[in-house]
Structure formats: structure tokens, C-alpha cells
């Protein structure tokens, strides 16, 4: 039994199910991300937890208490909105202090707690500024401080980093994790950015079309995605379709070594392998010969597209300081057979 649990939670708009039969148990102190493309129902799920959207069916429990129909101002959850939603006519200190005022905390204690919280988010010097005088990252930290100062049982983050530029986003995601760990608040974050979800969450929930399709630790999600959608949404993935023949995987007549077993002869299969699990070898020394179609330099690694008889593969190679093979060069791909995943290909229409 989790600290925050969702049971069969649904939200139906007309004949569209934005969220359908969602079950989730979040432990105390855990950082869980809801990951998915836009329109997958992750924000609706968050808003139902926050009390801003009324569920069509299902139950939300917090610490064993049913809060499904409770008004947002009685739930006491901390929410950081995508737009930050700071009060523009109040200073940073007044913004952070607002939730404490609503809880009738005395002036002296209020000032003390606001000061501590602003110290935690490194904004002590900006207490008397107005939100418009702050940068995006600073506003974001004010929003976090304002949500955390009321010591909420659960912190809800709605795309908290999406309004920041790339460099700041990377810094802030680690900052967010640092703050969350030092306070120890149970946190649920909604994001469409897989890198963000993987890097700072204890567990990641992937949502597709209103349903939760996989709930797993980030590395397990990455290594064994439950659906083809997840495999391509989380990280990059080479996907090929082939058949099982003579006890091995065959793609366009080429046999590719795997450790997979147990498929029937002639069965349609899907093969997948991550670009970083592939290695480039000189021609003839690998498992599959090909030529380099494109080469991209991405700083910490090189990304190649290699044309082979079995199809085109993306290959990423760490940058070791030397220039690797050029475009048009004949190479060979190599991989550990265990890293080439094989699944039975669902025949379209048969499942529906």
C-alpha cells in the first residue's frame, strides 16, 4: 500500500477517455515521473491528484485517506505549475509566505520559514524582488519554494523545466533532485522529456493514450521497454522486422545473431537494438558489413547511419579524441548477441 495511491482513476470527456483505469502506488519520499507525449493524459492525471480536475471514476488515496472529492485548498499538496503561476503583484518573499498565511502561521515563524526555504533554493538575496525582475530559472525556484514551504505531503510538478533553455534545464533538473532529496517530499513530476524523467526519477511511469503502459525504474525502462512505443520514445532504438527461420533471426535473408529462443519457424518477429550497443569494426571483422551513410558529431559521441543488407542502423560511438571512419567508408557492425532483443510481431488487426 503506497503513500499516494490511484485506483482505477479515469477521466472521460464526452466519448474521449483522457485517462483510463490508471493504477499507481507511490511510496513516501519517492520521486515518480509521468512520461508521455502530449495528449497522453499525464497532465490530466496530475490535475486530478491536485484536485483541479474532477475524476470521472476511481479513487485517490493519500496516506490511507480518500481525497478523491476533496477541494484543492483542503488537500494541502504543493503544486509547481508549468507557467510557475507566481503572484505577479507580490514579492518573492510574499509569494512564498502566502501558503503559510493561509495556514494562519504567526508572522515570526512565517518569516523564519520563508527565509530557510529561500536559502534552500539559493534565492535569499532576491526576497524583495518581484517575479518579473527574475530570470526563468529563478522564477522556477520561487515556485518550488512556494510549494515546499507549506511542507506538503506530496509535491506535484507539471512540466517544471519546459520553459527553460536547454543548458538551464539540465542544471535545474539536478537542482530539483537535490532539493527534493534534502526535503524528502514525495514527488510526482509530469514531463514529455525522457532524458529529464530518466535522470532524476526513482521510477518512471510511461503513459500512452490515457493508460499507464509501464511503471519501472529508469534503467529497466530503458533496457527492457514493454511496448514498441516505449522503446522508440525512451532513447533511440533501431527497429527491424523479420522472420524466425532455422532457429535464428532473419532480416531480409540475413541472419543476425541473438540469444533469443522459443519462436516458431516462420514466425514474424521484431528486432530492436540501441545505437550505443552497436560497435563499428573494420570491414569483415564484425557480424554485419555495411557502409557509412551519414556521420554526425555530437560532442561527447559520434552518431552514424550505416546502410547494411538488413537495413539502415543508427550507431553511436563515444568520442575518444580521434576521428573515426568517414562517410562512405566500408565498415562492419558488431554487438553482443544478448543486446539484440527479439519479440513476436503482433499481427495488425488480430489484437483488436
Amino acid at each position: 500500500m503506497g503513500f499516494l495511491t490511484l485506483e482505477k482513476l479515469s477521466k472521460i470527456y464526452g466519448d474521449l477517455a483522457a485517462v483510463q483505469d490508471v493504477d499507481l502506488a507511490v511510496d513516501k519520499g519517492e520521486f515518480v515521473s509521468l512520461l508521455g507525449p502530449s495528449g497522453c493524459g499525464k497532465t490530466t492525471t496530475l490535475q486530478m491528484i491536485a484536485g483541479l480536475v474532477e475524476p470521472s471514476a476511481g479513487t485517490i488515496r493519500l496516506d490511507g485517506r480518500d481525497i478523491t472529492r476533496q477541494k484543492p485548498n483542503h488537500r494541502g499538496l504543493g503544486i509547481v505549475f508549468q507557467s510557475y503561476a507566481l503572484f505577479p503583484h507580490m514579492t518573492v518573499a510574499q509569494n512564498v509566505s502566502f501558503g503559510l498565511e493561509m495556514r494562519k502561521v504567526g508572522k515570526a515563524e512565517r518569516d523564519e520559514r520563508v527565509k530557510t526555504m529561500l536559502g534552500l533554493v539559493h534565492l535569499a538575496r532576491f526576497a524583495e524582488r518581484y517575479p518579473r525582475q527574475l530570470s526563468g530559472g529563478q522564477r522556477q525556484r520561487v515556485a518550488i519554494a512556494r510549494a515546499l514551504v507549506i511542507q506538503p505531503p506530496v509535491l506535484l510538478l507539471d512540466e517544471p523545466l519546459s520553459n527553460l533553455d536547454a543548458k538551464l534545464r539540465e542544471e535545474m533538473q539536478f537542482e530539483l533532485r537535490r532539493i527534493q532529496q534534502s526535503v524528502g517530499t514525495t514527488t510526482i513530476m509530469v514531463t514529455h522529456d525522457q532524458a529529464e524523467a530518466l535522470s532524476i526519477s526513482d521510477r518512471v511511469v510511461v503513459m500512452e493514450q490515457g493508460r499507464m503502459t509501464q511503471i519501472d525504474a529508469p534503467y529497466r525502462l530503458y533496457e527492457s521497454p514493454a511496448t514498441p512505443f516505449i522503446s522508440s520514445f525512451v532513447g533511440k532504438m533501431n527497429r527491424l522486422e523479420g522472420v524466425w527461420g532455422k532457429g535464428a533471426a532473419e532480416v531480409a535473408g540475413v541472419t543476425l545473431p541473438t540469444e533469443a529462443v522459443g519462436f516458431t519457424e516462420g514466425q514474424a518477429i521484431a528486432l530492436s537494438i540501441r545505437p550505443e550497443k552497436l560497435a563499428l569494426r573494420p570491414q569483415g571483422q564484425g557480424r554485419l558489413d555495411g557502409t557509412i551513410l551519414h556521420r554526425f558529431f555530437l560532442g561527447s559521441y559520434w552518431l552514424f547511419t550505416v546502410a547494411t543488407p538488413a537495413g539502415a542502423f543508427s550507431v553511436s560511438v563515444p568520442n575518444d579524441g580521434d576521428e573515426p571512419a568517414r562517410q562512405g567508408a566500408a565498415v562492419s557492425l558488431d554487438w553482443a548477441p544478448a543486446s539484440l532483443r527479439v519479440e513476436a510481431l503482433a499481427v495488425r488487426g488480430a489484437a483488436a
Partner: protein, 285 residues
């Protein structure tokens, strides 16, 4: 050559508007000011003599001061009622979804599409001694109330026509408001009412203040509504000026009253604007 054209272009662009403004606003105003200093005799008419007598007469006569005070009072009352009705109305409007929002916006702007005279006669039919309102009152067992030709009638009709001028600025201010800000206040434990008072209201107060400025200015100089619903005896500043011009034929005195009303109006609105601007600087920078 090109630099000469560059410097003349702004003047050419501003020219037509400036000429219009000069001919239609400044010139009549200057003529009115000059007129107000002319002496007047009931038997011979306007004399070409400088005098301050009209100003002295108006400012020392309780009759005129009473009318000024009524004008001020009714304009202020209209402004207050418009703010009390208009701000919530704008809030509700901003939370509505299309098509209802468009429908109700049209309903609010509706009064502006009807001629002021027709509208005033409409109210006089409703408020008259045998009008619909009195019939309803009698049906409910209350005696007939005298509504027409009272200050109440003037304020009701003024509020009716001025409301859009309050709703639209407040609505515009609400449009700029991030709806998540209100939700943020709830999540921090504020009730709906507290969120409105502490978070929404301060941000739309600027819209309310500029709305009040328009409503006050238009109400204080309203002519048709006090003329038709206030009757012959209940005068406001604009109807008084009309009477001096058209009935007494004492144009200089009429001009004097007009100038005093203009000055008073200007003074009040400038002072008010000062308040708005300091507030705006504090809240929104």
C-alpha cells in the same frame, strides 16, 4: 533630400489629425473660455466687456453649487455601482466558454447599439407611475413608488449604459491573467473568495480603475439621460448648461458653467489617474 523627407514625414502624418483636433476641440474650447469672460445684459445681450461676474455668480450661488454637487454625487454613485456589478460580471464572462461568452458579451455591449434617446424613453416607460416596475410593485402589495424624475431613475439609466465601459477594461485585464495563478492560490490553501480577493482582484484593479475613469467622466457630462429621466427640475451640469444657452439665452453664463465643470472633471480625473499610475508602478512595473 531624403533626410528632409524623413523629418517632414511624421509632421505630414500627424497633420490631418492635429488639424481636426485643433478645429473641433481646441478652437471651440478657446471660444467658450473667451465667451465666459463677456458681460451679459438681459435687455441688450452679450456685451464686449471683460468681466469675472459670471464666475463669481456661479461659485457663490447655492443653486449652481447644488447642481454641481448632485452631478458629482450621481457620477460617483454610478461609477461605484458599475464597479460592483461590472467586475464580477467581467470575471464570470472570462470564465465562460464560447459560444456563451460571445452571446453575453453582445448582451453587455447591447445598450451601446441603441440610441440614447430611445433607451432613456424605454426607461421612462418602465419607471413611470403606470410603468411596468410600478405595476409589479403594486401586484406585490407595495404602494406606487415615485421613480421617474428622481435621482434613482438617472442612476439606473446611467449604470445601464456605462456598464460596458467598466466590463471591457476589467475583462481585458482578466484575459492577461494566467488561470493557473488562481489554481496556485487554491493549492496553497486559499478559499475561492480569498483567491479572488488576494490574487485576482489586485491584478484587475488597474482595469477597474481605468474603467471607473471612463464611467465617471461620461456620467458627469451625461446630457440626454438626466434631461429625459430627471425632468425639468432635477438638473445636472450638462442640462444646466443647455438651459442657460437655450432658455435664458445667457451664453456667457452657460459657458462659465461648462468651463467650471470641465475644470472640476479634469482635476478629479487627473488626481485619480495619479493614484492609478502609482499603483500600477507598484504592482506591475
Amino acid at each position: 533630400m531624403s533626410s528632409a523627407r524623413a523629418t517632414s514625414t511624421p509632421w505630414l502624418l500627424v497633420g490631418p489629425g492635429a488639424l481636426f483636433f485643433l478645429a473641433l476641440v481646441i478652437l471651440p474650447l478657446v471660444l467658450t473660455v473667451i465667451l465666459s469672460f463677456h458681460a451679459f445684459d438681459h435687455s441688450t445681450g452679450i456685451k464686449n466687456e471683460f468681466t469675472l461676474a459670471h464666475y463669481a455668480a456661479v461659485l457663490s450661488d447655492d443653486y449652481y453649487l447644488g447642481i454641481f454637487w448632485r452631478t458629482l454625487r450621481l457620477a460617483a454613485l454610478t461609477t461605484l455601482i458599475c464597479a460592483l456589478i461590472g467586475a464580477p460580471e467581467a470575471y464570470i464572462l472570462s470564465r465562460m466558454r464560447d459560444p456563451w461568452r460571445s452571446v453575453f458579451l453582445l448582451v453587455i455591449i447591447g445598450p451601446l447599439l441603441v440610441s440614447v434617446v430611445v433607451r432613456a424613453f424605454g426607461w421612462s416607460m418602465l419607471l413611470g407611475s403606470a410603468g411596468l416596475v410600478n405595476q409589479a410593485l403594486q401586484a406585490l402589495g407595495f404602494g406606487p413608488a415615485r421613480l421617474l424624475y428622481t435621482e434613482t431613475a438617472i442612476v439606473i439609466a446611467l449604470v445601464h449604459v456605462m456598464l460596458p465601459f467598466m466590463v471591457i477594461p476589467v475583462w481585458t485585464a482578466l484575459q492577461k491573467l494566467d488561470p493557473a495563478v488562481e489554481a496556485a492560490a487554491w493549492s496553497l490553501g486559499a478559499s475561492h473568495f480569498t483567491a479572488l480577493r488576494r490574487v485576482v482582484l489586485p491584478q484587475v484593479s488597474l482595469g477597474m480603475l481605468s474603467g471607473s475613469l471612463i464611467v465617471f467622466g461620461l456620467s458627469a457630462s451625461a446630457f440626454a439621460i438626466p434631461g429625459l429621466l430627471g425632468g425639468r427640475r432635477l438638473k445636472m451640469a450638462a442640462t444646466l448648461v443647455y438651459d442657460e444657452y437655450m432658455h435664458e439665452l445667457n451664453w456667457p453664463l452657460g459657458a462659465t458653467i461648462a468651463i467650471i465643470v470641465l475644470a472640476a472633471n479634469l482635476l478629479i480625473m487627473l488626481a485619480y489617474n495619479r493614484v492609478i499610475e502609482t499603483r500600477a508602478r507598484k504592482a506591475l512595473g
